[in-house]
C-alpha cells in the first residue's frame, strides 16, 4: 500500500512567489494553474500516459521563453516544452513536479526568403503552414508527417519528424538549417546558419530529435524546395504482402527511388473500406507508389514501376489521372489509423523499423505473434524505408486487454531489433519507449548520450524521464513518501 500513500499525498503546487515571477514574465493570463485548464495539457497524442503539471506557461517571445527557463533553472523546476501535442510517444507528457512551457502562441512566420529558399518561423507554426506560405511561388516544405495540418515545426524539430515522402526527401534534420535556441539555464544561442557549413560542432544536428531534453528552439530556419514538375501515383493490388514486397524489392533493384512507397495489408484495406469507402481493391496487400520529379524522368520511370508491379503479381494497377484521383488513392492510407476505430474498440500503433530486405520475414513472424497472443494486427507501413506501423487491435475491457496488446507490441519490437532495425522510425522514444532503449543501446552507448545531455543540461531539468532511461524510471518501484526536492527548496508546496 506504499504506492497508495504516495498517491494520496496532496498535489504539489508552485509557491506564490514563483507564480508571481512567471506571471510577471508572460502576463497573468498566460500562466495556467486551474485544474480544469491544466487537464488540457495532461497528455499528448499518446493518451495512455497522463500527468497534470504544476502550471502551464505560455510565452510569446524568445526572451520570455528564456526568462521562464531562468526561473526554472534558479528554482530547480523541471520543464516540458510542448508544441501542438500530437506526438505519439509521450514526449510532451507533463511532469507532476514540473511545468509545461507551451509554444502555441509563438506561431508567426517571421521571414519568407524565396531567393535564398529559406523560411524562418516560430516554433508553434504548423508544418503545413510553411508549405502554404510558399506554394503559390512554386515551393514546398518537404517533411510531411501525417499530422502535418496540426503538428508544429518546434515539435518536428524535437522529434526529427519524417513522413511518407522522407525516403526521397529526408527528415527534419535535412531541412532545418538554423535555430534560435534557449539553453537550459535560460541563455539564447544561434545554432547553425542560413548558409551551409557553420563552423564548429553540429549542435543543431543533435538538438534535432532530442525530444526537448537539451533546450527549447524558439525560431527555426528551414529550407524550402521547388515543387516537382510531375507527381505520378499508382495503387497496385497484390494477392499477399509477400508479392507486394517482391515488387518493392524489384523497384529498388531497378535503381528507382520513389518519393513514397506505402503498403497496406488485408486487415488495413478492410478497415479503410468499412470506415471511409476508399474504393480500394479487394486484395491481400495494396502498394501505393508515388514518383515525382522532372516530367521526362518521372514518366519513363513510372512506366517501369507499373511493369515491375505486374511482374511481381499485381492483379490490378490503378494510375491516378489527376490530383483528385491521387487524393483518393492516398485517402485510405492517410486515414488508416483512424479507420481502426471502426473495426476495433481500441488499437495501439507500434512504430518499428526493419531493414527493407527483411520485411517479408518480419511480416510473417508478426502473423505468428498474432496467433500466439490471440490478437489481430493490421499492418500499414512505409515499405520504402522499412518503417512498420503495426496496429494492434484490442479491447481494453477484455481481461488483460491492454496488457496483452502491450506484450504483443513489445514482441513486434523485438522482431524489428532482431532483424537489425530500430526501436522507432518516427514517433520517438519519449516516455513510451524509454525503458526499451537498453534493447537497442548498450550501457556505453547510453552513457555517451547521458554525457551529451549533461553538457547541454547539467541539472537535468529539460524534459527529464524521456528518451534516456534511468534506474528510477525503469527499475525501482515507488517508495515511501519523502519530501520532493522542490518542497525542500521552498519552490513548491503540497496543496
Amino acid at each position: 500500500m506504499v504506492a497508495m500513500a504516495l498517491a494520496e499525498a496532496p498535489r504539489l503546487g508552485l509557491n506564490a512567489d514563483v507564480l508571481a515571477q512567471l506571471r510577471t514574465i508572460v502576463g497573468s493570463d498566460w500562466v495556467l494553474t486551474r485544474p480544469d485548464e491544466l487537464r488540457t495539457y495532461e497528455c499528448d497524442g499518446l493518451t495512455g500516459w497522463r500527468a497534470v503539471p504544476l502550471a502551464v506557461v505560455l510565452p510569446s517571445t524568445t526572451s520570455e521563453v528564456a526568462a521562464v527557463v531562468r526561473v526554472c533553472h534558479r528554482q530547480g523546476i523541471p520543464f516540458v516544452a510542448r508544441g501542438s501535442g500530437t506526438g505519439l510517444s509521450g514526449g510532451a507528457l507533463p511532469l507532476t513536479d514540473g511545468i509545461v512551457i507551451g509554444l502555441s502562441r509563438m506561431r508567426s512566420v517571421l521571414r519568407v526568403d524565396l531567393e535564398n529558399e529559406r523560411v524562418v518561423v516560430q516554433p508553434g507554426v504548423t508544418n503545413l503552414e510553411v508549405t502554404r506560405v510558399v506554394e503559390a511561388s512554386g515551393y514546398f516544405y518537404a517533411p510531411d508527417p501525417s499530422s502535418q495540418r496540426v503538428c508544429s515545426i518546434g515539435g518536428n524539430v524535437a522529434e526529427n519528424s519524417g513522413g511518407a515522402h522522407c525516403l526521397k526527401y529526408g527528415f527534419t534534420t535535412n531541412h532545418v538549417l538554423a535555430a534560435t535556441f534557449v539553453t537550459t539555464d535560460g541563455e539564447v544561442a544561434q545554432l547553425g546558419s542560413s548558409a551551409l557549413d557553420s563552423p564548429g560542432y553540429d549542435l543543431l544536428g543533435v538538438v534535432i530529435g532530442s525530444e526537448g531534453t537539451l533546450g527549447i528552439v524558439t525560431e527555426v530556419t528551414v529550407r524550402i524546395v521547388p515543387q516537382p514538375e510531375r507527381v505520378q501515383t499508382l495503387l497496385a493490388a497484390f494477392p499477399s504482402t509477400d508479392a507486394a514486397g517482391r515488387a518493392v524489392a524489384a523497384i529498388i533493384a531497378a535503381g528507382i527511388v520513389p518519393a513514397a512507397m506505402e503498403m497496406m495489408d488485408r486487415a488495413t484495406i478492410e478497415a479503410v473500406e468499412i470506415a471511409m469507402h476508399a474504393g480500394y481493391p479487394d486484395c491481400g496487400a495494396a502498394l501505393l507508389v508515388e514518383l515525382d520529379g522532372p516530367a521526362p524522368e518521372c514518366e519513363s520511370l513510372f512506366t517501369r514501376v507499373d511493369a515491375l508491379c505486374r511482374d511481381a503479381g499485381a492483379s490490378e494497377v490503378r494510375v491516378a489521372q489527376d490530383e483528385a484521383e491521387r487524393a483518393r488513392l492516398w485517402k485510405g492510407r492517410r486515414g488508416a489509423f483512424s479507420a481502426m476505430g471502426r473495426v476495433s474498440p481500441d488499437y495501439y500503433v507500434q512504430d518499428g523499423v526493419v531493414p527493407r530486405s527483411r520485411l517479408a520475414e518480419v511480416l510473417a513472424k508478426i502473423r505468428g505473434l498474432e496467433e500466439r497472443h490471440s490478437l489481430r494486427v493490421a499492418n500499414v507501413f512505409h515499405a520504402g524505408d522499412g518503417n512498420l506501423h503495426p496496429l494492434i487491435l484490442y479491447d481494453r475491457r477484455a481481461p488483460d486487454g491492454p496488457a496483452r496488446a502491450k506484450a504483443l507490441a513489445e514482441d513486434i519490437l523485438g522482431l524489428c531489433l532482431d532483424a537489425g532495425g530500430s526501436l522507432t522510425g518516427e514517433h520517438g522514444v519519449g516516455r513510451d519507449k524509454v525503458c526499451q532503449m537498453p534493447r537497442l543501446f548498450s550501457a556505453a552507448d547510453q552513457e555517451v548520450m547521458h554525457r551529451v545531455r549533461a553538457a547541454f543540461d547539467p541539472s537535468g531539468l529539460a524534459n527529464p524521464g524521456k528518451l534516456l532511461p534511468t534506474p528510477r524510471l525503469c527499475g525501482e518501484h515507488p517508495g515511501i513518501y519523502r519530501p520532493h526536492p522542490l518542497e525542500r527548496s521552498g519552490a513548491a508546496e503540497r496543496l
Binding site: 551551409l196 530529435g209 523499423v353 522499412g386 519507449k433
Partner: protein, 405 residues
Amino acid sequence: MEMAGEVPTRPGAPGDAVSGLIPDLVVTPGSAQEVSAVLRASSQRGWSVVVRGGGTKLTWGAPPRHCEIVLETGRLDQLVEHEPGDLICVAGAGMTLGRLQSLVAGAAGYRQRLMLDPPQGDGATLGGLVATRAAGPLRARYGTMRDQLLGAQFVLADGTIARTGGKVVKNVAGYDIDKLLVGSLGTLAVLVEVAVRLHPVADSSRTVLLEPLSPSEAGSFCAALRRAPAVPSLVEVLWPERAVLVRIESSPEGAERQAERVVALHPRARVLDEPEARLWEQRVEGRPWGGSGPVVGISVPLSAISALLELAEREAASGALLELSVRGTIGVGEARLVADPQAVSRTREGVEKLGGQMELHRSGAEVGRLGSASQDPVARRLMKAVKTALDPGDILAPGRWDWEA
C-alpha cells in the same frame, strides 16, 4: 613509450608529421578493443592523439597543439555488410572510399554508389570523410556525409566503445550522435566502423557547359537552374574560367530531355560530346587542390553567388585568388589563394560580409589559425561543454578548434 597490448606500433618519423609536429609513436590498431587500449593508455599519460585515415585531409581545421600519437586506421578496413536491397553498407572507418566504391559498384546485379566525390577521394577513408565532412561536386544533389551516415561505432578518449544510430535509413531512437561526429575533425572520438546509405547509379548522363560568363550572368543562370524542371547532380561554377558545368544523371530519356531544358535556359549553353565532357570533368575533379597555396572552404547564401564571383574576379585580378569552384545550386565551394595572410583574411572578410563563412582546409603555417568554433558565444560554450564531456582530458587533436576566437 609503451603502448598497451599487442597493437602494432612504430616510432614516428618526419613523414608522419601533422602540421609540423612529429609524433613519438604511430599506432595501427585493428579492432575497437585495440583502439580502446590505445586511447586508455594515452588518456592516462596525457598524450595527444591525432587520427590519420588516408592522410589526405590532415590539414583541415587549425593545426593541433600537440601530437604524441598518430593513430592510423588503415587496419580497420573490413567490409562488415553490404545489403544492396537495403541500399546500405557497413565498413571499417579505415576503408578507403575508392575500395568501398569498387566493392559496392556491381554487387548482385545492382549498380550503387556512396554519393560522395571529395577531393583526393579514392585514398580518403570513410572515417576521415565523417570527421571532415568533405564532399565534392555531387554535394549539389546528395549532400555530405551528414546526409549519408546512418550509424557508427566509435571510441571515446577514455576507451569507452559505443555505437550510435544503426543501419536503417529511418531511425529516431536516441540522440543523433552521428551529427556531432560529422565535421568534428577527430576531436570527439575515434571512428571504428560506419554505416552509410548508398544510392543507385543512373543509366545515363549528359553534360552541359556554359561559358564565358560574367559573375551576374553566372548567378542568374544558377538561380534559373534551381527553378528549372531538371535535377542536376552537379552544378560547378568555375573561376577564373568563367564557366558553369552541369551534369544530369537519369534514365536515358530523362537525361536527354533534362539536358535540353538546361540548354534552353541560356543561348550560349550547349551539351558536350563525350570526350569534351570527360575533359571538363577531369578539370573539375580535385579542384582546387592541384597547385600550391592555402585552400579554403566557402559557403554563401544562394542570393550572394554573383557577389561571391565578383569578389573572386577582384581577388583574381590582384593575384590573391588562384582558383574557385562553387556548387551553384547550394552556394558552397572551395578556393585556392596565394600564401599571403592578408589575401586570406581579406577573402574571409569579403565572404563574411556576404553572410557566408570560410574555413581553412589547407594552409601554410604563415597563414595562421582559422578554426574558430563558432561566432556565437553561447553556442561556443555549448560546443566546449560537449568536447569536455566526451574528451575531458583534451587529448583528441587538441587545438583543432579555436575556442577563444
